[in-house]
Amino acid sequence: MGKEKTYLGVPVYRPRVAFFEFTSCEGCQLQILNREESLLDFLNLVEIVDFREAMTEGSDDYEIAFVEGCISRDDEVVRLQEIRQRAKVLVALGSCACFGGVNQLKNRFLDQGWVHRQVYGEYPIASLPVRSLADIVTVDVSIFGCPIKKEEVEKIVTNIALGKSIVHPKYPVCMECQANENICLFDLGEPCLGPVTRAGCDSWCPNNRAGCWGCRGPADDADPQRLKAIMVKHGFSLETIIDRLDCFGGFVRESARLRDELENVGQTGSVDPGGGI
């Protein structure tokens, strides 16, 4: 650390970086600390001024804020706004920060008072419906995934340091899944959100014979209605599709739409596969 980094003779600016967490499992931050073999290189590239999970002292003087977690309390809203004011670049780290993550499942309950009593009993915590960072402040960079992949964070940090642009795959998980020559889970009789979910995880779940749950949110041009047609054709219920789409919060609009449809099915008794199939 300390000595100035150069790349092809050009000094590389070492940005001051801070990590923050809101409502989350802190698993994404752990991912960053996890790969010890590259941790030192990471620290050479950025100057970490605040990282509660890894250090005791903190500073308010940072340029890039990596923010993990979703927003579920009033005080979190205020803190996030402060971070936004200080940071030049605000990075949403992981699915909770990007879409609300698993936590936003609680938004599905109509009676939030009941949820509160079940979880906290009489403990006086003012818990709000879960929101993503972008619901409250402007997010400059999103790093998707539950959890994130450290390699991806490292690549993004390298690109920031070298002034290169940050690009995510725009296509869905299927592209990576078939490049890994997996047998499609639909052929094996299991549902999968791969056709609508943004790639970048190298089809982590299908590689392990598990269907995708959409943790990276929607791919560009993703159309869950087309996926629904395929799911229905393969014999999966609307509930199964909705459960999957709901899990990480990346598809809230689509699952709400399907839930409306489900209510109509309750009345007419038939599912329209749609999508022309």
Binding site: T158, Y171, C174, C184, P195, I277
Partner: protein, 350 residues
């Protein structure tokens, strides 16, 4: 061409003779939910796992000559300079043990683009030139239409071609190398009865075709039907997922990305196969996308395969293996798409 007869029991001997190389062949990968076996190409070290009775493989053998991801070069970055290393990524020659005619023809087509052009691709050529190919006859699936594409017979592009006659193989020997490898085995000349069995096999193959693509005047019809509303219908079904290009033995499009290592001391240039159906295929610097709708992307897939390539090489870039249609979750397949463009009744049952 030399025709010989090889007892089936001798094939393990051929396998052993070739086993100093990397042998790649069809293996059983599992069963689908209906209990139908699924096959794929893989490295084979044990002759008994080789399944020459395979129907088709889910993925083609493309990745052995055209990997989905390949490092093109690596860079060592010093204080103010860099050093480039290039590796064509081939350690040992390959043996492709058990390719159907369609897949042999697919490699022949790739050769035209990747080796026959002004700038041949050394990464491809290095692998392709170090390859020994054994063909095997097949019984088409209901979704196969190689016959329509003229690729149901392989005339070139193999060293040996086996036709299963029950107890023995009818062997076509095309290369001196193949003859060398067969030397120690008990070969005999085909008898009249073997010729009869060979013809029977051929008749059985021909009788099995269900799917069909009418290719007469297809380039012109595609031109005429450029604005056909049918493209919109297919586009509305397409998931823009790229599976069709990944499973296709002849799709070769790719993107290149450079990555600098976290410690800034090295970098790597990597190629990744892409697909014209993906949303960003025609997106250029500055963000403009020439084909933002899935319908136009799907259309261009068909125009490249069945029009552009035909005009350039007088043959189609589709060998009718049917993989894209079998793998497509939206059930989009070549026979149906072409039939719809020609205002014909759709024929295939996937």
């Amino acid at each position: 061409m030399l025709f010989k007869i090889l007892p089936k029991s001798e094939l393990a001997g051929l396998f052993a003779a070739l086993s100093e190389n990397d042998i790649i062949g069809p293996v059983h990968k599992g069963d689908n939910r209906a209990g139908t076996p699924l096959f794929d190409f893989a490295r084979v070290t044990d002759f008994d796992t080789l399944r020459l009775d395979f129907t088709s493989t889910v993925h083609s053998a493309k990745r052995f000559v055209l990997p989905y991801r390949e490092t093109l070069s690596t860079f060592r970055i010093t204080k103010d300079s860099w050093e480039k290393q290039v590796d064509f990524n081939i350690e040992r020659p390959f043996v492709l043990f058990g390719l159907h005619a369609c897949d042999i023809n697919a490699l022949n087509k790739l050769d035209k683009v990747l080796m026959g052009s002004v700038y041949p691709t050394p990464y491809y050529a290095a692998k392709r030139r170090n390859m020994f190919i054994i063909g095997i006859d097949c019984i088409p699936l209901s979704s196969c239409f190689c016959r329509s594409m003229g690729t149901d017979t392989a005339l070139t592009g193999f060293d040996l071609f086996l036709t299963d006659l029950g107890e023995r193989y009818f062997v076509e020997i095309r290369s001196a190398k193949a003859f060398q490898f067969l030397k120690g085995l008990s070969l005999s000349d085909p008898a009249d009865s073997d010729h009869d069995l060979y013809l029977d096999k051929n008749t059985a193959m021909n009788a099995a075709f269900v799917a069909h693509v009418e290719t007469s005047d297809l380039t012109k019809i595609l031109d005429l039907e450029f604005e056909s509303p049918v493209w919109k219908d297919w586009g509305a079904r397409c998931l823009s997922c790229g599976t069709c290009a990944n499973v296709c033995p002849t799709c070769y499009c790719y993107g290149v990305e450079e990555t600098v290592a976290l410690d800034l001391s090295s970098a790597r240039k990597e190629k990744q196969l892409h697909s014209c159906n993906l949303v960003d295929f025609a997106e250029v610097a500055g963000g403009h996308n020439f084909r933002p709708e899935s319908a136009s992307r799907l259309k261009y897939r068909y125009y490249h395969k069945h029009r552009g390539f035909v005009e350039a090489f007088e043959e189609s870039l589709c060998v009718g293996c049917g993989r894209c249609g079998r793998s497509c979750l939206a059930e989009i397949n070549v026979p149906d798409v072409i039939a719809s463009i020609r205002h014909e009744e759709m024929v295939s049952d996937r």
